[in-house]
Every structure is written in structure tokens, then in C-alpha cells.
């Protein structure tokens, strides 16, 4: 992975990297990706799953229940007047 690619990926991931970090991550990730090339030797499989064991949807009953501690949740979310506050953008 070259430095240009590291800068591009960092932008996508919302990371501001210093020049020093860009250089270091480029070298480290190049090493890591080179080691990963062994995967090219693994046979392709038609049939594979997103997880290690089967999962099926079992829906719980749709019962209305109070949240364990709504006051605490509101406090943690810094709710005000029934609204959840985000940062003020100026």
C-alpha cells in the first residue's frame, strides 16, 4: 500500500494522519498485505456463510416495556426538552 493509498483510505475512514503516520502505516500495511498474498493460493468456495455458525431470525414478542432507567439514558445522551443534542455547528 503506497502513501497515496493510505491518504485515500484515511479520508474514507475519517482519520487525519500526520506525514509521519502516513509513511509508517504505508510501510507496515505493505508488509501485512504482502504476507496476506498466501490467500491467493486458497481454493475458492462457491458456498460460504457470513458467520461461523447458522443463525436464524427468531423475533421476540412486540411488548412495550419501559427502558431500565430512562432518566439515566436521557442524562447520558444529554437530552434536553425531549431532544437529543448534537454539537452546535457554527
Amino acid at each position: 500500500m503506497d502513501e497515496e493509498m493510505v491518504r485515500k483510505v484515511a479520508r474514507v475512514a475519517r482519520l487525519d494522519l500526520t506525514d509521519e503516520e502516513v509513511g509508517r502505516y504505508a510501510a507496515e500495511l505493505e508488509d501485512i498485505l504482502s504476507a496476506f498474498e498466501v490467500l491467493d493460493e486458497a481454493p475458492a468456495m462457491e458456498d460460504f456463510d457470513p458467520g461461523p455458525v447458522p443463525v436464524e431470525d427468531r423475533l421476540r414478542d412486540d411488548e412495550v416495556k419501559p427502558y431500565p432507567d430512562p432518566e439515566r439514558l436521557r442524562r447520558e445522551m444529554r437530552a434536553a426538552d425531549g431532544w437529543v443534542r448534537g454539537p452546535r455547528l457554527t
Binding site: 500500500m1 475519517r14 482519520l15 496476506f36 490467500l39 486458497a42 460460504f48 455458525v53 454539537p87 457554527t90
Partner: protein, 442 residues
Amino acid sequence: MTGKDLATTVRLADERYRMFAEKLEDPLAYEGGHSFHFSAKDNLCSVEFQARAGSRILEGYNPPFDATAIKRLKEAGGLLIGKTNMDEFGFGSFGTNSDIGVPLNPFDTTRCCGGSSGGAGAAASVLDGHLSIGVSTGGSISCPASFCGVVGLVPTYGRVSRWGLIDYGNSLDKIGLLASSSDMIARYLPVISGPDALDPTSQVQPPLSIEGDVGSVAIPEEALAGLSDGVRKAFEEAVGRLEGMGVEVRRVAMPELRFALPAYYILATAEASTNLARYCGMRYGDIVEETDLGFNELFSQVRSKDLGNEAKRRILLGTFCRMVGLRDRYYIKALQVRKLVIQAYERQFREVDAVLTPTMPFVAPRLDEVEKMSALEAYHADFLTVPPNLAGLPHISLPCAYIDGLPAGMQLVAPHWEEGRLLSLAARWEREFQYRRPEGGA
């Protein structure tokens, strides 16, 4: 031990080994007539403590609820005495990637505890009758169990509800237990196991039974390459002891294992890079009240300041592997390899009850040695613990040797949902092999 004595023991142990991210400080809090005490890794939510997952970006996050595993242990009479330190979000094998400090190995405080559940390993090692909840994504229970000389059990993926866990890799994360011997784990694994409506992946599990045994094991030759001389010799002695207990040992080839490490790191970082997108200064931890930046600039600034070096590296790797044009080569190929590795284990399980390897290729390294490791060398240290984690298979690390006074573990892997037989073998092993506690104690 009275509650007050326990409070003193916990305080002194933490001063010496720094295993807690946060703990009960008030001695009165220990005087509740609880039947046992336990700790939880810092990436599990509880109402008493912050949940920081070892990261500065979650500083100040106080969960308003208990994780299911914590809730169930409390209901069974347990006292939650603290949250144990860990590598940031689980990103590490040595416990050294935490913003909260580095837990120290109770057998030698110049050495690491392992990771990422390093504090959990240390707490299980030094506190009598203690149960540590750990979390394993690629080896984060087995590794500290081996380095700290304790038993670490990782159940089948989905056995224990992940509700209340701060996700690292959703298709890989498994909540498990560490303790100084297997009886605590056999007693409390059934408590935390079982379906939970709040985690769909826990819903389709067969009942857990602590029975059956391991009468035969396969040792893959691939697991014996790259071991330190001390671990190789100690492991072969342990194999001899198992044979003496009547366990049949077969030497086999599992060439598919060489694909497990890259497949794991691709899946884990791809999932982590999406999971960590939520930490941007708006919802958790140090929430920004006012800014003159646009959203993207704000998010980038907060994340760059508050995420650690390893977290950034893994976010970059995972984001790269998911990018347009690369997804099939990396992410999809890794999913295919997971299936391949599961099939490789299933082939062995047609002939034997478990697959046996050392847990780690070396004993706990010194902290200065960890600092000198390259990223790739650090990732490669996981080559024995990653395959069962990638495959979602239950596994246990049992202390099997002491090399110059430092513990080393062996790891047994069983078929999906058959963790019970691992605990049966552990009980038999503990009648044959005497575990040691660290000399300094708590």
C-alpha cells in the same frame, strides 16, 4: 474472607499488577453477602462503571444497562468488583495497547499479561476464587490464560449473548471465562450461556451440558512450526502426560490452517472499521458541545486525537479491504477461507474428539520485547489461537508447563457446541497436573 479483606486484597493486587480499568473503591461495597466475586473486561457494559474498552475515545461513557453476561452473574449471587484493563477495543495480543495503562504479569512484572483480555488474566491469576469475564475475537482469552497461568474457556460463537458488548468483530466476538481452575468455569458458564432475545446469534443453540470427555486428540504438524524451544519441549511433555491419562494422540496435517491468520485479520479489521465508525465525538465518551467545523472535519479531528496507533492501523486495513474493487479479493475470499478452515476441523472431528496445540508459541514476552515487535510479528504471534476463533469453535487453554518459572498453556479445540467435554477433560487434567500460583500473590 470478609468483604473488607477482599476490598484490601483487590486494592493491593491492582496497585501491584494494574489489572483494573476501574474497580469498587468503597470497602462497604464489598459487604453485600455475595456468593462469589467476578470482574468484566472493560468492553462489557455495566451500570457501576465506565465502559471504555481501553480507549480514550470512550472516556466518560457510563452505560445505563448491564451486559447480559454481567446481569446473569449478578442474579446468580456474584459481586462485580471491577472492569479489567484491555488492549484498545481488543486490538492486541500483549495488553500493551491500552490508553489506561499496561497490566503486568503476576509471574514476572517486567513481562506482559497477554491480550487483549490481559487484566482479566491477571485478576484470575492472583485473586482467590475469582471469575473473570473475558472476550475473544482472535485469541484474547487463550493468550492471557497461557501467559498468566490460568484456565481460559472460549465457548462456541453464539453460546453467550453479546448484548452489552462493545463490538470489535461481530462475526468473531465470543464472551468467555477465565479462572485459576476449571471448576469455577464449569459452574458459571451455564449461568451466562443460553438464548437471549437481545442477541439473535444466541438464539439457535443446543442446550449446554458439562459432560462427555476427550478420549482422543489430533495435533496438526503446522502448529509445531515456529515454537520457541522451551514451549516445544514443554508441549511434548504435556502430550506424554495426556497419553498417560489414556488420551489417544494422532499426528495429522491441516494445511488449511496457514490461511487462517490472513483471513482472520481481514474479517476482523473489516468488521472493526465499520463498528468504530460510531465513535466520532457525537454519541459516546467525550461529546463535543460546540464546534466551528463541518461534520467530516469534526469526526476526523476527534478520531485522530482519541484513537490509538493500533486502532488506526486496523481501521485503515479494514477500510482498505472493503473498498470497491478489492472486496472480492480480500473480504469475500476471507469468508471462503473461514468455511475451508471449519471443514478442515470437521474432518479431524470425524476421527478424534479435539484438536490440540500449544496456546502461544512462546511464554509471556518482556514489555521491552513487545515494544520492538513489528506489526506483522505481533499479528503472527496469534497463529495458534486464530484458527478456532475464526471458525467459531469452542476452545480451552490449560496451564501445562512452567518454563523458567513462567507458565505456558495448551489449547484444545472441540466441535461447535461441545465445550462441555473440554471442561470434563480439564477437570481430569487438574488431577494430574498441579497448577502454580504466582509467588507474589495478591
